[in-house]
Symmetry: C2
Subunit: 211 residues, 2 copies
């Protein structure tokens, strides 16, 4: 294992440890000492990669989220649905994904750029909506930019409500319900009738990406 590869691994180990602490304690209550206690990395190594708590949180928020990458579908509306359902599935099953969501929601540090995840999700939704529109999947009234905002905002709220009321247990049900309410204002009837919006879809598509 080369020096660079080892460095990348250490960085990832630290971020994973930080994610767990941030998720449990929130940004404000988390200390670097606690993150160190949660890993076997030395203090020196941590500070070599990150200047402190803020850079750790920033690092987590900026990390490319592979959750956004789902298999391409001929029907772009289905691909959009899959993207949200896979993310819901990952929130239910992956501490790192949950930590990022929590950091984005915590309003504790004005220094943290909490806009980043919203902007990234908006870009992902917008691109898929534009492709769907080009293929004639959307209603004539749809403005992809406005609809992308509604999808990201709506999903954000559904997930924070699910977190607070049920610790994400009902997240898949809530996400599907949101999509069932929104999609009739977005996609044409022939698209709607072809969509798979079942509660197991997220887990199935995620398994597909792991092959």
């Amino acid at each position: 294992m080369g020096k660079q590869e080892r460095g990348t691994r250490t960085r990832q180990t630290i971020l994973t440890a930080a994610a767990e602490v941030f998720e449990q304690r929130g940004y404000e209550a988390t200390t670097v000492t606690e993150i160190l206690r949660n890993t076997n990395v030395t203090k020196g190594a941590l500070y070599f990669h990150f200047s402190g708590k803020e850079e750790l949180a920033q690092g987590l928020l900026q990390e490319q989220d592979e959750a956004a990458l789902v298999p391409e579908r001929a029907c772009r509306t289905q691909q959009l649905v899959d993207t949200l359902l896979v993310y819901a599935h990952r929130l239910q099953t992956d501490a790192l994904v949950r930590a990022r969501a929590r950091l984005a929601m915590d309003q504790v540090s004005p220094a943290l750029d909490r806009r980043e995840p919203y902007l990234r999700w908006r870009t992902i939704m917008l691109r898929l909506l534009e492709q769907a529109q080009a293929q004639g999947e959307l209603l004539a009234t749809v403005d992809p930019a406005g609809t992308a905002e509604v999808l990201v905002g709506g999903f954000t709220g559904v997930q924070s409500m699910s977190l607070i009321l049920t610790s994400y247990e009902d997240l898949m049900t809530r996400t599907c319900a949101l999509l069932r309410h929104l999609l009739p204002s977005i996609a044409t009837a022939p698209v709607l009738v072809s969509l798979d919006l079942s509660g197991t879809r997220g887990a199935e598509v995620f398994a597909e990406t792991q092959d």
Copy 2:
């Protein structure tokens, strides 16, 4: 002014001061000392009414929110729209309402019952949807309980996205966009065409309640 009335006023003064500090700093970073600095109430008076920070936050979260009270409308779907638009207007204009929203979103203290505002909003939406259904305003496919969850979740997210991206400046636009996307799956066409969903509606209805 009687003793009891004076007590109620002091309690309100303290809650308002606490609201401002909680809104700016978040739950975790707020101290009772800071709240005291923001009011002319004595330390003794504050501790007579509240045992500490947690009870102050709890007091804010539990306070009846008059935002939920909008004038009754023959069309219950319009009343539901008005309820959300007035709340959006109050979030844009009232620090106390913003502080409550922030406390509900902050994931910092597991001791705080952050479920309360969600449950209250769900109850308000559900009651209006049931009345709308009884009057034949809703599509036959609507399950009022499920739709109430989607409305509360969707609105929650739209407002946190608006807060983070624009400090609530575009909240009215986002709320109207969300409703325009959701309502076609909820209300019948004759109801939809009669609705006032304009950007000034929230301020107008709020002014009506202040007469």
